[in-house]
Symmetry: C2
Subunit: 263 residues, 2 copies
């Protein structure tokens, strides 16, 4: 008996929610698949649009669920935004529509996070503490010349209790009142977050594969960037979704378990 992988790539990027786990439960076979990839010398990193937890939190969760992971192996939209904005405008004063883990990531990258409108950037993220006062501060900041940047384009976020509003709600509110436009959204399907991930893997795009459950982010990003794409049906996408044929992932699997085959 030997183990083999459907795709020969040296670097593997995994989405989290719906791909590696659902809520607090590991997708069956995820632990074995990741362990086998690592044992075979493949490099693995995790890629999430969610800015609600720190990368260390995600690493601890994966480790607790049986996939030992360090924070540096987790790339989320907070990290991608902080890295990208550091290239555009290092140390800039910023106002954040977002939660404490994003604020911490921005501070760790040298930004001056302010609570007033005297800033050069308004950072917009999935924020369960979004309110009118933040919307007003964003408006005043833009009237003072601030630019807009956002973490992720998702409309809603699946939870164990159903979908809840995601970053698209905050982006739409700010754009509507300011009459401005978000200049860049760094999360999937943007190449910005993928570049950060490839840098972590230390491999060129052609040697890497993206495994995820969302067509409009995971698969579209992979296709745009020319990396291999594996759609798993363990999350939000149903097998009869017509977009599967349109986007054309390199493989469509029931779940991460099928990446690892015993023959």
């Amino acid at each position: 008996m030997s183990t083999s992988f459907k795709l020969p790539h040296r670097g593997w990027l995994f989405d989290l929610d719906g791909t590696v786990y659902r809520g607090e439960a590991l997708i069956p076979g995820a632990g074995e698949t990741i362990a086998a990839l690592r044992a075979a010398g493949r490099r693995v990193a995790f890629l999430s649009n969610k800015p609600l937890d720190t990368r260390a939190d995600y690493a601890r969760k994966l480790t607790r669920l049986g996939i030992p992971t360090v924070a540096d192996d987790v790339i989320n939209s907070s990290l991608a935004l902080a890295r990208h904005l550091r290239r555009l405008d290092p140390g800039a004063p910023v106002f954040v529509i977002g939660e404490p883990p994003l604020v911490a990531e921005l501070r760790a990258h040298g930004f001056e996070v302010r609570t007033d409108a005297r800033v050069r950037w308004v950072v917009i993220a999935f924020d369960r503490t979004f309110d009118y006062a933040k919307l007003n501060t964003a408006l005043q900041a833009v009237r003072g010349g601030a630019r807009l940047i956002a973490t992720n384009p998702d409309r809603t976020c699946p939870t164990e209790d159903g979908e809840i509003p995601d970053c698209a709600g905050m982006i739409a509110a700010v754009e509507a009142v300011t009459a401005g436009r978000v200049e860049v959204i760094v999360g999937k399907p943007s190449p910005i977050i993928l570049e950060v991930a490839l840098e972590r893997l230390g491999l060129p795009a052609r040697e890497c594969a993206m495994v995820g459950d969302r067509i409009e982010t995971d698969m579209v990003m992979g296709k745009r960037f020319g990396i291999a794409t594996v759609l798993v049906l363990s999350g939000i996408t149903r097998a009869d979704d017509p977009r599967i044929a349109e986007v054309g992932p390199d493989a469509v699997l029931g779940s991460i378990r099928e990446l690892f085959q015993t023959t």
Copy 2:
């Protein structure tokens, strides 16, 4: 010496902010103009998109500033929404993104205002207490089949301290996360609020004029409905605004004072 009016109409509708007063100060001549119109047997009502105060509050403010007014002479977007929705779905359970005066108006019109998502309508208004929890309740309501209706389309609201986010921010957030569309916005420039005002005046449209400071609401509404339009430059619109020529109000005056001429 005699007094005359530039336009012969029997019914006069006045916008409030920027037309009759600015903040707590009456526009010079507003009191005399309204008093002269009334003395000449013309009918006067006030028309505002703002759902932040009750109609009684607006009437008290006008009275305090020297224009004796009863609540029934004030038509705002809360009243227009309550009247319109009562025709569409009387007594329906509703969830309100809005402030207490709107909730009171809906209750007074027989609606069941709920704080959970088990509703047939989500009412979206200018709401300085808007937050993520309300956005989430709106999402859950729409997922359960609720429809969307809104008070007013304004992007921002001028205040003495500058502009603050108005209803367009709340509408955009809800539409973005629900992927739904607001079916109707009752406030100016909708004919819905104008119909309520004409009913109050008891006059046909051809005998009425609209006086206001906003092109995209006051003037556009009047033009669409075929009532006379008077733009005043005492509020948000500047004399060099190219939209003045595009929309073509029947008269453009420095302020309400010029409606009343001594010859």
